[in-house]
Symmetry: C2
Subunit: 449 residues, 2 copies
C-alpha cells in the first residue's frame, strides 16, 4: 500500500487563500491569520510523476484487498487522501467500496439515460460519515504515536457523526466524547455512540450551547475536535467521487446530486472530482446539484439570488433531520464548488422527499430521508428540464434507511405530518384460508410489483 | 466473469443420498422419492480441471470488480455457486465483500490468538440473508427467462428473510409475497418488505399457519417458495466460508462460530469449507461451533446426548428472535456437518448474549443479539478450554445492530428482562458549565475508552 517512488505530501492551507500553510500534524482547525476554515492541499506535481493510467491500475488492484485496514475504499487511495500517514496508524472498519445501485424503472419514467444511487449507507456505522471519520481518527492515532498528548476526541452531534466518531475511536482504543443537549435527543438516536463506549455528556443547554462548550473544551489541545470544520474529514469524504468515477470505468455521470446541510459533503465531492480531473483520471467534470429540505434551505435562497451572501436562518423541523441546518459552516466552499461545476440548488418539501424515497425503495434500496431530498430534487430538475432528457445521474445516498425506521413506518402508515403518502403499501388483512389468499394473489404479476 | 474452458455444472441431489437428481431449473423443493431436503451438487471434477492456484487468482482479481452485478462477493465465485446461471440473469445488490473486523482487546482478555467478526450485516438489507437471496432471485429470473410461468416469489418470515426477498425481487421487478401472522409482528419488523413493495399478507393465524398456507399456495408452481428449505439459498450462504478463507490468505481459523436456529446457515458454512478443501484451496478444515439461545436450544440438547435424535421443543421468547426456533428444518444436515468438522454446540442465556454483544461493541462494531449468542459461546468455550488458549477464532456476525436498536437501547437503559447489563454506558447529566464538563472529562484516557 505504501507509496513507492516519489514522496507524496499534503499540508493544511487556508481555504480563503490568505497564504497560511502548516503541517497536517498540527492540532489546528481554523486559519490563525484570517479565521477561515483550513483545507488539505496535496502536492499534485509529485502525484503527477505517476501517470494517470498507473494510478488507475493501482486503485483497481487495491479495490479487491481482503484484509483490514487495507480492505477499505478510502485507504486504497492512500496517497491521494493522507499520503504521509503511516500504514500502521490506519484505523479502518472497512468503509467504502459501496454498491452503485441502478434505479432503471425510475430512470425510464423520468426519461433519464440512467439514475444510480451510490449507497454510502451500506457501511459499518450505516452512514457516509465513515469515509471521513476513518481519516480523522487515523490522524489522531498518528498524532498520539508522534507524542502529541491527545487524551480523547470530541464532537457535538445528534446523529451520524457521533456514531462514526465513537465506532472508529472504539476500534482504535482512543476515548471519545459526545456533547448533547439534554431532553432534545432520544436514547435511540444515541445508541450507537453509547454502545461503542463514548462518554456521552447530556448537557442542560441547546445544540448551540453544546457546540460552544465543545469548542471551549477542545481549546486545551488535549481534546481533539471532530466536528465538520475539521478538514481532515473532507479528505475521506472526497473519495466518494473517486469511487463513483471508478465504478463507471473512470467516467463521470452528467449530474451528481447530493443532499446538503452543513455543506461539507458537497465541498468534498467537488474537491474529489477536481482532483481526478487535475490528475487526468477523468476528462470532464459532472454538473453538481445540491438538494436541501425546503424547511432548511439557506443555500437555495442564496442560489435564487445568484449566490448572494449567506443569510443564516432558523431551520424548521424536517424529516431530513441531519440537514436541518440554517447556518452552514461550509457555505463559502460549497458556493465555490457550485460555480466551478456549473451547479444548481433545489429543495424538497416533506411530501416530496418522502414520496421520492418511497419511489426508490420500490427498486430494492432502503433510502434515508436525506437521500429522498436528493431524489425529489432530481424529479424536479428533470421536470424543469435543467437535467436534460437522456442524462446520466448519480445520487449520493448518505445513510442506510435502517437508521430511520420510524420515518419508513410513519410513511407507510400514513401518519407523517405534512406528508401525503402516495406510495404507501399497507399489509392486506386476510382470514387464514387458502381461497382468500389465492384471491388476494390473483392479480400478482400483472402490473409489476 | 463467465466460465471459460470446461463446462461447469450443478444439479439438485437428494440430501439423504437416495440417488434422486434433477436439473436446477426444475421448480422443486424436496426429494420426490423420500421427502428429504434437496441440495445443490457441483461437478467437482470439472471444477478441478482448473488448478487451485488459478481459482485463487481469479477470485482475487474479481474481488475488486466495481460494477453491479459483478461487484458482488457472491458472484465473483459464480462457477462455484450456480455455474449455469447466465450472467445477464444475475440480480445483485452488491452483497458480500464484508469486513473481517478484529476484536483485539476481547481476544487478549480471553487469551485467544485472534478473535474476528465476519460482518455479514454490513450488507444492502442489513443481514447475511442477502448472500443466499441473490442466488434464489437470480434463479427465479432465469426460470422466467426460460419461460417457466412464475408470477411471484413467496415466503413466511418475520425478519431478515422477508426483507432480503422483497429487496432482491424489487430490484429484479419480480413480485414478492410475505405471509405473516396478524398482530404478532409489528410494522417496524415489516417495514423493509413493505417499503420494497412486497405484497404483505397479514393472516388471522400463527406462524405455523402462515408456513402451512405458503406451502399450499406455492404448490401451484406459479408461486416460487423462498423459505429456507429452498437449497439454492445455501449456495449463496456458503460463500461466507469462501470469503473468510480469502480474507485470511486462503487459510482458515482454528474455530468458526455461528449462531444457529433453523441451522441452514451452519450447513451452508460447512458446505463452503468442504468445497474449498476438496478443491485444494485450503489445506485443513476449521472446527465449527454452533451457538443457540438457551431458550431455543434443540441442537444443544441433541449434542449433549451425543447428537441424539431431534426432539422438537417449544422455543421460548428470546432477544435472539431470529433463532427462536424449536424444530429446525436443517437439523440433519447440521449434525452431519458438526460431525465432519469435529464441532461443538453451546448455548447462551439472555444475560450472556446481551453482555457479550455489548463487550464486542466496545471495539467499534454494532452487534445483533444473534451475534451476541455466538460471542457468548466463545467466552464459555474458552472458559471450558474447548477452545484452546492461543486459538484463532472467527465469528459470523449475521445482522447489523441497526436492525435491533430497541435491544441496544434496552440494554444500556438496563430495562431488558432477565438481563443484568454489566456494560451499560448511560449518558452523564451535567450543567452546561465549562468547569463541570472539564471535571467530567478529567479521567479520560487513563483507563482506555
Amino acid at each position: 500500500m505504501s507509496a513507492s517512488g516519489p514522496a507524496f505530501r499534503a499540508e493544511y492551507a487556508c481555504s480563503e487563500a490568505c497564504g497560511f500553510r502548516t503541517s497536517l500534524w498540527e492540532v489546528i482547525y481554523r486559519c490563525p491569520r484570517c479565521g477561515s476554515l483550513l483545507e488539505v492541499a496535496h502536492d499534485l506535481e509529485a502525484l503527477r510523476a505517476v501517470p494517470a493510467a498507473e494510478w488507475k491500475r493501482r486503485f483497481e488492484a487495491r479495490f479487491g484487498q481482503a484484509r483490514l485496514p487495507h480492505a477499505s475504499g478510502v485507504w486504497g487511495k492512500h496517497e491521494w487522501v493522507c499520503p504521509e500517514l503511516p500504514a500502521e496508524d490506519i484505523v479502518s472498519l472497512g468503509e467504502g467500496r459501496v454498491p452503485l445501485k441502478p434505479l432503471p424503472r425510475m430512470a425510464k419514467a423520468l426519461g433519464l439515460g440512467s439514475l444510480e444511487l451510490k449507497e454510502c449507507g451500506v457501511s459499518p456505522t450505516g452512514s457516509f460519515k465513515d469515509w471521513g471519520m476513518t481519516v480523522l481518527v487515523s490522524a489522531v492515532k498518528h498524532l498520539r504515536a508522534r507524542g502529541v498528548p491527545l487524551r480523547a476526541v470530541a464532537c457535538a452531534s445528534t446523529g451520524d457523526t457521533s456514531a462514526a466518531l465513537a465506532a472508529y475511536c472504539a476500534a482504535a482504543g482512543i476515548p471519545s466524547v459526545v456533547f448533547l443537549p439534554r431532553d432534545k435527543v432520544s436514547l435511540a438516536q444515541l445508541v450507537q455512540p453509547i454502545a461503542n463506549g463514548a462518554r456521552v455528556l447530556s448537557l442542560d443547554t441547546d445544540f448551540d450551547g453544546c457546540m460552544k462548550l465543545v469548542q471551549q473544551v477542545t481549546e486545551d489541545r488535549g481534546l481533539y475536535l471532530a466536528n465538520s470544520m475539521n478538514s481532515l474529514r473532507i479528505e475521506g469524504q472526497k473519495v466518494v467521487a473517486f469511487e463513483l468515477a471508478q465504478d463507471l470505468g473512470w467516467e463521470v455521470p452528467d449530474w451528481v446530486v447530493i443532499p446538503g446541510g452543513n455543506l461539507g459533503n458537497a465541498s468534498a465531492l467537488g474537491k474529489g472530482f477536481q482532483m481526478l480531473h487535475a490528475m487526468g483520471l477523468i476528462s470532464r467534470l459532472p454538473r453538481l446539484a445540491v438538494a436541501q429540505a425546503q424547511r432548511a434551505n439557506p443555500l437555495v435562497r442564496s442560489f435564487r439570488g445568484g449566490f448572494s451572501e449567506l443569510e443564516p436562518m432558523k431551520a424548521e423541523r424536517t424529516l431530513a433531520s441531519a440537514i436541518q441546518i440554517g447556518n452552514p459552516v461550509s457555505f463559502k466552499r460549497a458556493v465555490r464548488m457550485l460555480r466551478a461545476f456549473d451547479g444548481v440548488v433545489e429543495e424538497a418539501t416533506e411530501s416530496e422527499l418522502a414520496n421520492a424515497a418511497a419511489r426508490a425503495d420500490r427498486e430494492g434500496t432502503f433510502t434515508c430521508p436525506h437521500t429522498g431530498v436528493a431524489l425529489a430534487a432530481v424529479e424536479k430538475l428533470v421536470a424543469q428540464k435543467v437535467i436534460a432528457p437522456g442524462a446520466s445521474v448519480a445520487v449520493v445516498a448518505t445513510a442506510h434507511g435502517l437508521k430511520f425506521a420510524d420515518f419508513k413506518v410513519g410513511y407507510h402508515r400514513g401518519t407523517l405530518a405534512d406528508v401525503e403518502s402516495l406510495r404507501a403499501n399497507p399489509p392486506l388483512e386476510l382470514p387464514a384460508e387458502l381461497g382468500a389468499v389465492r384471491e388476494a394473489l390473483a392479480s400478482l404479476g400483472e402490473g409489476g410489483p
